[in-house]
């Protein structure tokens, strides 16, 4: 027998099939229906905005990121998610800049994938909101033919976009400033004004369900957010049904679905422990209702998540698992029968 060339590796010599790129690309795949819905409701403008934001993200990752880091799919997610948080008529150059900022300042300067503190897509959006407050709150109406642009998508860089688009108010805007509620069914389907991904709650939940089923998402985070929002807004609703929106409206309006399912669950910027996930979700849900009801802005999901991102290290620290054999055991005999 001729001696074969033998490898020498450390144990374990077996490896579960899942990999980080596979997780990331699965998230991308689960976003496809949501993007499709955005295109259905907002036409070609939706696709243009998403492509512009994604192009900014990918290009920045390619230029400043580690070699080959495009392949792990995480920059793709950032770009798509950022695009989905923007209004359909958003100038493309601004969307592109948002992608550049999200990846550049949200991720690459921390050291790339796994190192960032804040969700890069949301950081990109926060930057855009601070920089272009008018453009980012210009909401065109849904349904006016696929080919028609929904606003000044093609505005030249550094020029203010034309304001003469047909705009509609978002459900949260209506609620906040006119105290007018939108039908929850419309919210669930997505046929309302708003950001691209603020629309189809049902498709977002389906995408999330797929990721939970694949064990690519910690379901405790959205569950905890939803639960907190429902309980907190139910209390407010009971106090004064006329002043405060009902819990279902709170749940399905605005960016809560997209934020809770896709942004808050970003593995890198959410707690690593399960107990931490519950606390994290509670914090987000609480802040969302707080900002929506008493804050100056109609929507608070973005700031709620970013604020909670900042305290993740503390949550992790406070919720370290209890090591085996350090918890006083329940009394049980050696001959204990089947549990």
């Amino acid at each position: 027998m001729i001696d074969p060339r033998l490898e020498l590796s450390a144990s374990p010599h077996l490896k579960a099939p899942d990999s980080t790129p596979r997780i990331m690309w699965s998230v991308v795949a689960s976003l496809v229906p949501v993007i499709g819905a955005a295109a259905y409701f907002f036409g070609v403008s939706a696709l243009l905005v998403i492509v512009a934001a994604t192009a900014g993200a990918l290009l920045t990752e390619r230029v400043f990121g580690r070699r080959g880091s495009l392949g792990d799919g995480s920059a793709m997610i950032t770009g798509l998610l950022l695009g989905l948080t923007l209004p359909p008529g958003f100038p493309l150059w601004m969307a592109f800049v948002g992608g550049v900022f999200g990846i550049g300042f949200g991720k690459v300067i921390f050291g790339g994938i796994g190192q960032n503190v804040f969700n890069p897509a949301l950081l990109g959006r926060a930057f855009l909101q601070a920089s272009f407050p008018a453009a980012i709150t210009t909401w065109p109406k849904v349904m006016s033919g696929f080919g028609a642009l929904r606003g000044d998508n093609l505005a030249l860089p550094l020029m203010s976009p034309n304001a003469d688009t047909v705009t509609g108010a978002t459900p949260l805007g209506l609620m906040k400033f006119q105290h007018e509620a939108t039908n929850v069914w419309h919210l669930a389907i997505g046929s309302v004004s708003g950001s691209l991904g603020e629309t189809s709650a049902i498709l977002i939940l389906l995408g999330g369900a797929y990721l939970v089923w694949k064990n690519y998402m910690n379901w405790r985070i959205p569950a905890s957010i939803f639960l907190t929002v429902i309980v907190f807004s139910e209390i407010l609703f009971l106090v004064s049904p006329t002043r405060y929106p009902n819990p279902l409206f709170m749940l399905f309006s605005g960016g809560l679905m997209l934020g809770a399912v896709y942004m808050a669950t970003d593995m890198v910027t959410s707690p690593v422990t399960d107990r931490g996930a519950w606390i994290f979700g509670f914090g987000i849900g609480f802040l969302v209702v707080l900002i929506r009801v008493w804050g100056g802005l109609p929507e608070g999901v973005m700031y709620a998540i970013l604020l909670m991102n900042a305290v993740v290290p503390f949550i992790n620290q406070a919720t370290q698992p209890k090591v085996f054999g350090t918890v006083p055991a329940k009394a049980a005999g050696p001959a204990k029968e089947a549990r």
Binding site: L6, S11, T20, G114, V268, V272, V323, F324, P334
Partner: protein, 446 residues
Amino acid sequence: MGLLSFRHGVHPPDSKHLTEKVPIRRMPYPDEIVLPLRQHTGKPAIPLVRKGDRVERGDKIAEADGWVSSPVHASATGTVQGVDLWPHPDGSMSPAIRIEVERWSAQLPRPRLVPEWRGLAPEQVVEAVRQAGLVGLGGAAFPTHVKLKPPPEFPIEFLLVNGAECEPYLTTDHRTMVEYPERVWFGVRIMMQTLGVKEAVIGVEMNKPDAVERLRESQPPDLPVRVQPLRVKYPQGAEKMLIEAVTGRQVPSGKLPMHVGAVVQNVGSIATIAEIFETGMPLVERIVTVTGPGITKPSNLIVPVGSKLRDVLAFCGGLKDDVAEIVFGGPMMGSAQPDLDTPLLKGTTGVVALTQAEIRPKPVYPCISCGRCLDACPVFLNPSRLGKLGQAGRYEEMEAYHLMDCMLCGSCSYVCPSNIPLSQMFALGKTMLRRHKKAEQGAKAA
């Protein structure tokens, strides 16, 4: 289902189909046997023979050095070629006694080197087991006589027989339970009487239903022992996990099974206790699973201790062309072997030949804090955090995160989607911390 188990853990494919139905065969004596002096946990044995000495099968050729140590016996009749450095399965060069086997010898055992069990006092049983060089055959090779004589301040309530065999591929214990259930029961009887315990449980994972059945149908009516089926999960065969699965008790951090009144013994070792008292022969051979996709003829074998990997592989039809790595033990905790002249030891449970398809090098990505390692870790550590500290070489902080509780089962590395070599870093961290401690003690003494 009323199947018991511990919490957390992982589910690698068990791959036992290759050998689980293959009856145990006896491998013929190879031309040369290599017996390292260090085949057990504890101090290496001290050689009693010199080059040129003629030894018979069963002769003691190295004496135990102290209580936590074990003697070594010649596993074949032949002539000692020398006591010198030889490749050891742990990767080092280690002193070993080499014996050229007499080809014409019938390898007949000397008459009864181990006394009859009946009529022996517990003390005498312990001594007989010690003299027979018996160690745990489940992998760790802890001297059995030490377990049989726990310190009196820790009363032992029950014996836990480890038939979990949670490592993928291995079927050594499985075949032992199927083919030698009477031996298992005799061994259980010996251990229970020696330890003076009234209760015993045999834990068997439910991917071995035939083992459970054979044990139950052959159980002597006077032995109050429960055969407990367990859910299939890795690392169920780890002592602490098995105790939790069967009793719900947790061995306190840093403590041993005896602190919760348990003695855990691998089922193969228990069958061997019975065997040495039956045959009167010390530990000179053991059952080994030789398996994996890289082996021509996967087998369960009885091999003389000290047989070289090369001879064992040849008996199993040799390696296939696409073999890429050979592991002693199971693929989760076993160690890769670079040299085909490495001998199989008392504690070698299996030889697994893996191909490129299983071990294909995986690109390493940064930790994305997915938390899978936390859900996998059977001792509830935070491997994600420990891994980051390990990468930075911050060993003291790793200790604060309970690194010393890590038993290097590899579950975290197995599930990590970023392919971070977590358990490898933890092994390094533990070694560094121990070295640190030693240096500190040395400094204090000086």
